[in-house]
């Protein structure tokens, strides 16, 4: 059953993507539903199993490593798979309004959407360095396809830039994988972990793979492609890009540094990564503060928020791991909600230029409310998932006397407040002239409610962190204390 459920997570969306391409008209809805709806069921079952076993491994095609590829589901990947499924379903629901599967643009959209969620699951399950590369490629290409699905010139330009940098990042990663393979004779992450030595070569491999992934993760200073891409993508696509696509690259960096090189003791490297994160937080927030478009603000906010994920390295420890993972989760939900709300503003008011949005809260109260709610989690204010993450992060930073990190986390929160309230202030300002309320159709309401649902999920994450954190703790590889 385990193998069946895992296969369902990866192959069902891929098969559905194929069917969505082939089937005519209305039948495509069926393919889309068949590709996405079984995922939570399979994952629910797997989560139960994971709770009993602590770790699920399956050798794909029956060949164990080093020859074959091994799927490995632990607490961390389980949490991310859940996030992916939630995003795929809820954001997908939003997308259904704009990309009806039986219309032409839906014909382009849904196969990519399904491929993306399948690839993401495959990435999260994979324990094989080369297989990770392939899944990363698939994720990137599907994401880029989604980015240009509306064929807007800015999006296309951003997509080409993103494509090049992302593929370059892949190649760097691959170079590192080649080194690991040369050294260890295996591509399995966990087998290599026991063999790979922390010598010059091992370090080089690690650094290469890390740099490659940091490009994809858009960690400062390699973030250049992100704002244009996320800021110009169609709404649901921005949401999934920010919530998942960049995250999985960071996830891989975690895997490399904590699992592959977990016992290497390289404090300088860890601090370095932490500093990059810190710079990302400050720089991204400052940039967000001066942007003139809502979506660009949200995009730069992603640059900043990704920085928090890097703080795991200097704060190294179980609690920090739980904190950053939880941040990843709640930021995913909140950011998706924000992008969807911003997209709703953009589609219904025709602009997301800050200057033109005065008084938007009268016309679209639900979406403005969503922005504000999601903002609570982004700010790390209670009660929200972001708050739990921030609390735990601050707790370990204080416990270690890491005042720099404490400062960065706090300053990041304040700057986030600055840029978010800047948006909210405009939205709530009294408009010069208040035009008639547009009649909002059912589809419009659905899109707003989906965004609200995601924002509420981010808040709800602030109330029930215990089971998730417990699940995460089972995945922590390095023991209790740093």
């Amino acid at each position: 059953m385990v193998a069946e459920a895992l296969a369902c997570l990866v192959l069902v969306p891929v098969v559905a993507a194929c069917l969505a391409l082939v089937l005519p008209g209305r039948w495509r809805w069926l393919a889309v539903a068949a590709g996405l709806l079984p995922l939570p069921l399979a994952m629910a079952w797997l989560t139960g199993e994971l709770g009993r076993e602590g770790l699920i491994t399956v050798a794909v095609a029956g060949f164990e490593a080093p020859l074959g590829i091994v799927w490995r589901l632990d607490g961390l990947s389980a949490v991310l798979v859940w996030l992916n499924i939630i995003i795929a379903l809820l954001v997908g629901l939003h997308a259904a309004a704009h990309y009806p599967a039986d219309k032409l643009n839906g014909f382009r959209f849904w196969p990519l959407w399904l491929l993306l969620s399948g690839a993401m699951n495959a990435l999260l399950l994979s324990a094989d360095l080369f297989n990770l590369f392939v899944t990363l490629e698939l994720v990137t290409l599907a994401a880029i396809g989604l980015l240009v699905v509306d064929r807007k010139p800015q999006a296309m330009r951003a997509a080409v830039r993103y494509l090049l940098l992302a593929l370059l990042g892949s190649l760097f990663y691959l170079l590192g994988v080649a080194l690991v393979y040369g050294q260890t004779g295996t591509l399995d992450l966990y087998q290599a972990a026991g063999v790979l030595q922390p010598d010059l070569l091992g370090h080089t491999a690690l650094v290469l793979m890390t740099v490659g992934l940091l490009v994809k993760a858009a960690i400062f200073p390699l973030h250049g492609w992100l704002p244009a891409a996320h800021g110009n993508a169609p709404g649901p696509v921005s949401a999934v890009l920010s919530a998942m696509v960049v995250k999985v690259a960071v996830y891989l960096v975690w895997r490399l540094w904590l699992w592959l090189a977990g016992d290497w003791a390289i404090p300088a490297g860890l601090t370095m990564l932490g500093l990059l994160g810190a710079l990302a937080i400050v720089y991204g927030s400052l940039q967000a503060l001066v942007q003139q478009r809502v979506k660009m603000i949200v995009a730069y906010s992603t640059v900043a928020q990704l920085g928090y994920l890097m703080l795991l390295f200097p704060l190294l420890g179980l609690v920090a791991f739980q904190a950053t993972s939880y941040h990843l989760l709640s930021h995913g939900l909140a950011k998706a909600a924000m992008f969807l709300a911003a997209a709703n503003l953009l589609t219904r008011l025709g602009t997301d230029q800050l200057g033109d949005l005065r008084g938007a809260d009268r016309r679209m109260p639900l979406d403005v409310f969503t922005l504000a709610l999601a903002g609570v989690s982004i700010l790390g204010l209670p009660p929200s998932g972001g708050f739990i993450a921030k609390w735990l992060m601050l707790q370990t930073a204080l416990a270690q006397g890491g005042w720099l990190w404490v400062g960065v986390i706090l300053v990041g929160g304040l700057l986030a407040a600055a840029y978010l309230f800047r948006v909210l202030a405009v939205l709530c300002a009294r408009p010069v002239a208040c035009p008639e309320l547009p009649v909002s159709g059912k589809a419009d309401q659905l899109t707003s409610l989906v965004a609200l649902g995601l924002a509420l999920a981010a808040l709800a994450a602030g109330f029930v962190p215990a089971p998730v954190l417990k699940l995460l703790a089972t995945a922590w590889p390095l023991g209790g204390a740093p």
Binding site: P365, L381, P382, P383, I388, L398, L414, F421
Partner: protein, 498 residues
């Protein structure tokens, strides 16, 4: 049954206004009757629930709601005597303010937004009152910041945004200090409940340095909302908000939340004994004293009625801090009871200022000439409130000042009397000219912006004001009654200083 009630009641008390808020948002702008009835029903329900809870607490029960976010991180609502003091004040004043606000905003727009956030704001206040530990306190403290922001920007003009920005900069900046301080404390002791006399006593000498730092972090965190000098600058600027908001901010919600936090800090977290041991009481006392005088002096120079009231608040709220910083049971009583007394008096004053502005367009002090003849009832209320502020018996303010003075003498800090005296003189200096203008000066020929108010409006506005005035006088007159705030506070303080 009782167990069940004891567990869920605190949550119900907090949530009833939150649900009302949600209902108001959903009801929307165009269903005023539904909205208002929802609001009033919730306010009444809250008063009833708080009343039940008060009875339970008086019977020696401890209603407590507990929900573990994480091991060691509890979300805990608990009603102890101090909570009840604040909870009753909020519940009653919410009801009154709602009536006032319905009338006040009869002609305004965006009322759904206003009343929705107003309810949420009360939720946060109630949560602060009932918070059983620092984490819970922090959660609602931040919620309060977030929910008051839309109220401050309600008018949507440039000044309100400037005021709101200042408010946010101060409160969110403070929350940073607060958060660090709280997490630090959690590091030291784990998440412990508030307890009379504090729970930090068993920490060794080697932690004293940390404890001092944490104390000041928390003082900054609470001090901003309590408008302690030099963290008070946001308060006068936030005066751009509509009058009911100002009333709520000053009398109940924001400012009191800060002051309440300071009380919790000194009495229930550190315990006065430890504060004294650490040598923190005197600096706090000096800070409070300075704020009292400073606020009063600045109030003198204001020409805007609401601004003058605002600086008066800066000064008056510090009485509470003063009370807990002096130490000793008598001063503590004075401080805590001022929590209630100042609330009643200040809300009356703001209600009156709101009526002046709303009905006649009077906003400046020099426009007040002869208003007593035009609006006699309101002017009467204003006068009573002002006199109470000055400390004239039998209005509530007198009781507080008396206890504060006596308490200071009791612990041998006689110089505090001088501060109180100076403050009283200054109070008189900035309130008496107003009273003179209201009653004795000749009225101007036309009021700046007189409106033709409906009977309902007038009834709501003035009725609410009369009610608060009555209570303010009542709690002073019947201070000896066993149900009066004074008796209640005396009961609380005996826990602190057995």
């Amino acid at each position: 049954m009782t167990e069940w009630l004891l567990f869920w009641l605190p949550l119900a008390v907090v949530l009833v206004s939150a649900l009302a808020g949600l209902g108001i948002f959903i009801a929307g702008e165009h269903r005023p009757i539904l909205r208002v009835s929802l609001n009033l029903a919730a306010a009444l329900a809250k008063v009833v629930l708080v009343g039940i809870m008060g009875l339970l607490v008086m019977a020696g029960q401890v209603p407590e709601f507990n929900f573990a976010l994480l091991p060691g991180l509890d979300f805990k609502l608990r009603a102890d005597s101090l909570s009840m003091l604040f909870a009753v004040l909020s519940a009653v004043l919410w009801l009154v303010t709602t009536i006032y606000a319905v009338a006040y905003l009869e002609r305004a727009r965006d009322r759904a937004r206003f009343f929705g956030f107003f309810s949420l704001c009360v939720t946060a206040t109630m949560g602060i009152a009932m918070a059983g530990n620092l984490l819970t306190f922090f959660i609602f403290y931040e919620l309060l910041t977030l929910t008051t922001w839309p109220l401050v920007v309600h008018n949507g003009n440039r000044e309100s945004f400037a005021g709101a920005r200042s408010y946010l900069v101060h409160t969110l900046g403070a929350s940073v200090f607060l958060l660090v301080g709280i997490i630090w404390l959690y590091q030291l002791t784990g998440g412990q409940d508030f307890i009379a006399g504090g729970y930090l006593g068993e920490l060794g000498l080697d932690q004293y340095h940390s404890l001092r730092i944490v104390f000041w972090l928390l003082v900054i965190g609470f001090g901003v909302k309590a408008a302690l000098f030099p963290l008070h600058a946001w308060l006068p600027r936030a005066m751009v908000a509509p009058a009911p908001v100002s009333a709520l901010l000053h009398a109940v919600a924001v400012v009191k939340a800060g002051a309440f936090g300071l009380v919790r800090l000194v009495e229930d977290i550190y315990g006065f004994e430890l504060v004294q041991t650490l040598g923190l009481d005197l600096p706090l006392l000096l800070l409070a004293s300075f704020t009292i005088v400073y606020g009063s002096v600045l109030a003198l120079f204001q020409t805007d009625i609401k601004k003058r009231l605002a600086y008066s608040t800066v000064s008056q709220v510090s009485y509470i801090t003063l009370g807990v910083a002096i130490g000793g049971p008598i001063a503590a009583i004075g401080g805590m009871v001022h929590l209630v007394h100042q609330g009643l008096m200040k809300i009356t004053l703001f209600f009156c200022a709101g009526i002046f502005a709303n009905l006649l367009g009077v906003k400046k002090i020099d426009q007040l000439d002869g208003i007593g003849r035009r609006l006699p009832w309101t002017s009467l209320c204003f006068t009573i409130g002002a006199l109470g502020m000055i400390g004239l018996p039998p209005v509530a303010g007198f009781v507080s000042k008396w206890y504060l003075g006596a308490g200071a003498v009791a612990v041998g800090r006689e110089w505090v009397i001088l501060v109180l005296l100076a403050s009283t003189l200054l109070n008189a200096a900035y309130f008496l000219p107003l009273i003179k203008r209201i009653w004795l000066n000749e009225p101007a020929r036309a009021w700046p912006a007189e409106i033709d108010a409906s009977r309902l409006e007038v009834f709501g506005l003035v009725g609410a004001t009369l009610a608060t005035t009555g209570v303010a006088v009542g709690v002073g007159l019947f201070a000896g009654h066993p149900l009066s705030p004074l008796s209640w506070v005396t009961g609380i303080v005996t826990d602190y200083f057995p």
